[in-house]
């Protein structure tokens, strides 16, 4: 295939490999945007990768009072897991420990339609110790749990959908500072898009992983082929001598089209400054097609 360059930046002829995940969306509200942030920061904390966290979560977008069920500031949060049962366990734990505990918060279903549902308030109601109250308005059921600052209002259950995890691309740059600037631009371009989250810190991953390790206890280890400091000793290195830093963006989304849109927006933002901004190449992480059925070929994504 012909070489593809955008603003002088080489787009590698490779693909990002992604896999099916189960996801749900929650709507978190609170009295002020600051307390929405407190609740959602806690809810999505330590939820970067299913490898070690069990689930992947992030704020999808902030919501205005007009968009929330209780007319208060809010945020939509997406949580991805490897199975419905796994997701159910993590959602109830996280909402119970991080949202119910946050002052003034409430938690609603952000995904209403779906054949499968997982418990939300229905799993937390017993915390009310018998004083919990169910309320059904229309076809939605809510729980009112007495807490010390009033009541924690929580939807009974939330639907789950089939999503995709692990969409990704890597930015290869001439310096760490320039790599980070390109990654930040990519994050800023992706975050406004609906149906996508970037679960890693600030939306960026520096410790990209490969499958397996020399240590039997580990299922993943550092992606040595993209580590600049190992270039001299890693026979399979994929970095040219002028690459000083690599950062990865990982995207979880509702479907292939959404991931593709996100990757395209992110890559376009990352290469907007061209080679003059120190970005040398864009590539993607895959495992030879063995990890998952969703393959996002960079040349097709950017076509």
């Amino acid at each position: 295939m012909a070489e593809l360059q955008i603003n002088g930046v080489r787009i590698e002829d490779t693909f990002a490999e992604a896999f099916p995940m189960t996801y749900t969306r929650l709507v978190i509200t609170a009295d002020t945007p600051a307390w929405v942030d407190a609740a959602t920061s806690s809810l999505t904390g330590f939820a970067t990768s299913v490898i070690g966290c069990g689930c992947e979560a992030a704020v999808e977008r902030l919501l205005t009072p007009e968009e929330t069920p209780d007319s208060r500031p809010g945020a939509a949060v997406m949580i991805f897991g490897m199975s419905t049962g796994d997701l159910a366990k993590h959602v109830v734990n996280r909402v119970g420990q991080c949202v119910m505990t946050s002052p003034g918060s409430a938690c609603y279903a952000g995904l209403l339609d779906g054949a499968k549902r997982i418990p939300l308030g229905g799993g937390l109601r017993y915390f009310g110790d018998g004083h919990q109250i169910a309320k059904t308005f229309g076809d939605r059921r809510f729980w009112r749990l007495p807490v010390m600052d009033g009541e924690f209002v929580c939807e009974d259950s939330v639907a789950v959908g089939k999503g995709i995890g692990g969409g990704n691309f890597l930015i290869l740059a001439a310096s760490h500072r320039q790599c980070l600037a390109a990654a930040e631009a990519a994050v800023a371009a992706i975050r406004p898009l609906p149906g996508i989250i970037l679960p890693f810190p600030g939306g960026v991953v520096r410790s990209g992983s490969k499958v397996g390790s020399k240590y039997k206890a580990l299922i993943a280890s550092t992606n040595t082929r993209f580590c600049p400091t190992l270039r001299a000793v890693e026979p399979e290195t994929l970095l040219s001598p002028d690459v000083e830093a690599v950062l990865e963006l990982v995207l979880d989304g509702t479907d292939e089209a959404t991931i593709r849109t996100g990757m395209r927006a992110g890559i376009a933002a990352a290469v907007a400054g061209g080679t003059g901004a120190g970005v040398l190449a864009i590539t993607a992480g895959n495992y030879g097609g063995k990890l998952g059925p969703h393959h996002f070929h960079l040349h097709k994504v950017m076509a």
Partner: protein, 251 residues
């Protein structure tokens, strides 16, 4: 409204049992077929076509009833789906035992609105009833689920023996509100001077779930949809029944 309209033909009052006139039963029937159906009235029965003037329309789109001088009992009793709009007053047992759908009464409602039909254990089990005027006694009696909103006053024993559900009355209630209440919510649109018998004072605060109630009432034009506050005085009871129900008086 593109549904079926029924306009009472007479001027003098007559009592009619309307419980057979439900959207789910009439859906798919022609106006002629509906006109030939009998309805209990005045101690006997009469054909719907003799009692009402029917305008063609699909009952699945909803029923518009203009009662004129008739006293229409059991309007929407037991209905499970669809819409019924009463452009006037309704008699007793309107929406009693209702399971789903929307019943809107522009005028007044009689006793046992959303309540229980004689011989049955439970009252309303779902759906939404909206009344523009006053309602009689025992509104929402033995209610299990659903919402009843009354823009005027309600009579005695409102929300008596409720198991769950929400009754919102703008103008306050007569004696013994929430009598025997096990769970559920009776929301009053005016402050209460003292705790009703059998209820404990639970204090005043903003109730977040009332925002959800307001959203559920959007489009009904009811008093709580327009109310600008969710702050209410809570009374917990009926203590004789375990104290899991509540009367909220908007302040």
């Amino acid at each position: 409204m593109s549904g079926l309209s029924l306009t009472y033909r007479g001027d003098a009052g007559i009592m009619v049992d309307m419980s057979a006139l439900l959207p789910e039963r009439l859906a798919g029937l022609t106006a002629d077929a509906i006109a030939g159906m009998p309805l209990p009235c005045g101690g006997g029965s009469a054909r719907i076509g003799d009692l009402f003037e029917l305008s063609a329309g699909d009952a699945a789109e909803g029923l518009l009833i203009r009662p004129g001088g008739a006293i229409l009992h059991r309007v929407g009793a037991g209905m499970t789906m669809g819409r019924i709009l009463v452009a006037g007053d309704a008699g007793n047992h309107a929406g009693a035992g209702m399971i789903g759908g929307l019943l809107r009464i522009d005028g007044k409602a009689g006793d046992s609105l959303g309540g229980v039909l004689p011989g049955l254990p439970l009252g309303m089990r779902g759906g939404l009833i909206s009344v523009g005027g006053d309602a009689g006694d025992r509104v929402g009696e033995r209610m299990r689920r659903g919402i009843v909103v009354v823009d005027g006053r309600a009579g005695a024993y409102s929300a008596a023996f409720t198991v769950a559900g929400t009754l919102a009355v703008a103008g306050g209630c007569g004696p013994h509100p929430g009598f025997g209440m096990r769970r559920g919510t009776l929301l009053l649109g005016r402050p209460a001077s003292a705790a009703p018998d059998g209820f404990a004072d639970g204090g005043t605060r903003d109730w977040l779930f009332l925002h959800l109630l307001r959203r559920a009432l959007e489009g009904t034009g009811s008093w709580f949809e327009r109310a600008g506050t969710t702050r209410a005085h809570r009374f917990i009871g009926d203590l004789a029944e375990g104290g899991r129900g509540e009367i909220l008086a908007v302040v």
